[in-house]
């Protein structure tokens, strides 16, 4: 990904030098030409095109904001209800993620989303121990986390 971005910058700078007009708009045009060239030559790279990766980052961010707002509304309902109806539970959640940064990201996302906080990551990094504030169905909570965040993180790191 970093290589492709650098290459794109290099093409843009070459375009600026070729046209000999040193303005930001020339650089933008050169960058767009670089994008087209990258698309044309995509079969020579081992990774997928970097704007695909950027797009999945953006999707992850949007999912995250949606879940953040939903989680806050659910916490607010829980806290402001006259009668406290809690059923906290600490459950183990297996994860397929392997890299350190993926697990850190997943843990942060889980902590900021509906009714769950990561308490402990097991030593072999295969299991996250999650505290849920109100669990009706643990399986359902695990599945929803897997469906949204784990899938999105895997999508970002797919090469």
């Amino acid at each position: 990904m970093a290589f492709q971005i650098l290459l794109n910058f290099f093409i843009a700078i070459t375009w600026v030098l070729i046209t000999a007009s040193f303005t930001p708009s020339t650089f933008v045009i050169g960058y767009i030409i670089g994008l087209l060239l990258l698309v044309l030559t995509r079969r020579f790279y081992n990774e997928r095109l970097y704007f695909g990766q950027l797009w999945s980052c953006l999707k992850l961010t949007l999912i995250f904001f949606k879940e953040l707002i939903l989680s806050n509304i659910s916490v607010a309902m829980l806290v402001l209800k006259p009668k406290l109806e809690l059923q906290p539970m600490i459950f183990a959640m297996p994860t397929v993620l392997e890299e350190d940064w993926q697990i850190t990201l997943l843990a942060s996302l889980i902590t900021l989303t509906p009714g769950t906080i990561v308490i402990h990551v097991s030593d072999d990094q295969r299991t996250l121990y999650v505290h849920a504030i109100d669990v009706d169905d643990v399986e359902e909570a695990i599945n929803s986390i897997k469906q949204t965040f784990e899938k999105a993180i895997l999508e970002v790191s797919r090469t």
């Binding site: 953040l68 707002i69 806290v79 809690l86 900021l112 308490i119 643990v138």
Partner: protein, 121 residues
């Protein structure tokens, strides 16, 4: 135009203040460390974020000053606040703070018990 801008700014700040109040009520009402960590780490993040965005928009639209520090502040808040919530509840768990009576299940206790018995062998 200024009216619409002011309404949007006021909305952001009101939402921020509302969630900050929810945080306070949650910390007071909820029964144990872990459930309080929920209220503190989630609602406080969104509350402060709402206020920061409101202030940012006010300075941008009304005063004509684009303050990048406020945006950076909200990004830093997003990175650090879940880690803070995680570390506090983990430290509480590891030093043996019991979860509330209401808790239905505790997988972590079993896992730690297993690890201890393995280390003793």
């Amino acid at each position: 135009m200024t009216l619409i801008a002011n309404i949007i700014i006021a909305l952001f700040i009101l939402v921020g203040v509302f969630f900050t109040v929810v945080t306070v009520v949650g910390v007071l009402r909820l029964p144990d460390v872990y459930t309080r960590a929920h209220a503190a780490s989630k609602s406080a993040t969104l509350g402060v974020l709402g206020i920061l965005i409101g202030v940012f928009l006010h300075f941008w639209w009304i005063k004509g000053h684009f303050s990048i520090q406020l945006l950076l502040g909200s990004v830093f808040l997003f990175i650090t606040s879940p880690v803070g919530g995680h570390l506090m509840s983990r430290a509480a768990y590891m030093s043996g703070v019991k979860p509330t009576e209401l808790t239905v299940g505790d997988d972590l206790q079993e896992a730690i018990g297993e690890q201890k018995s393995r280390e003793e062998d």
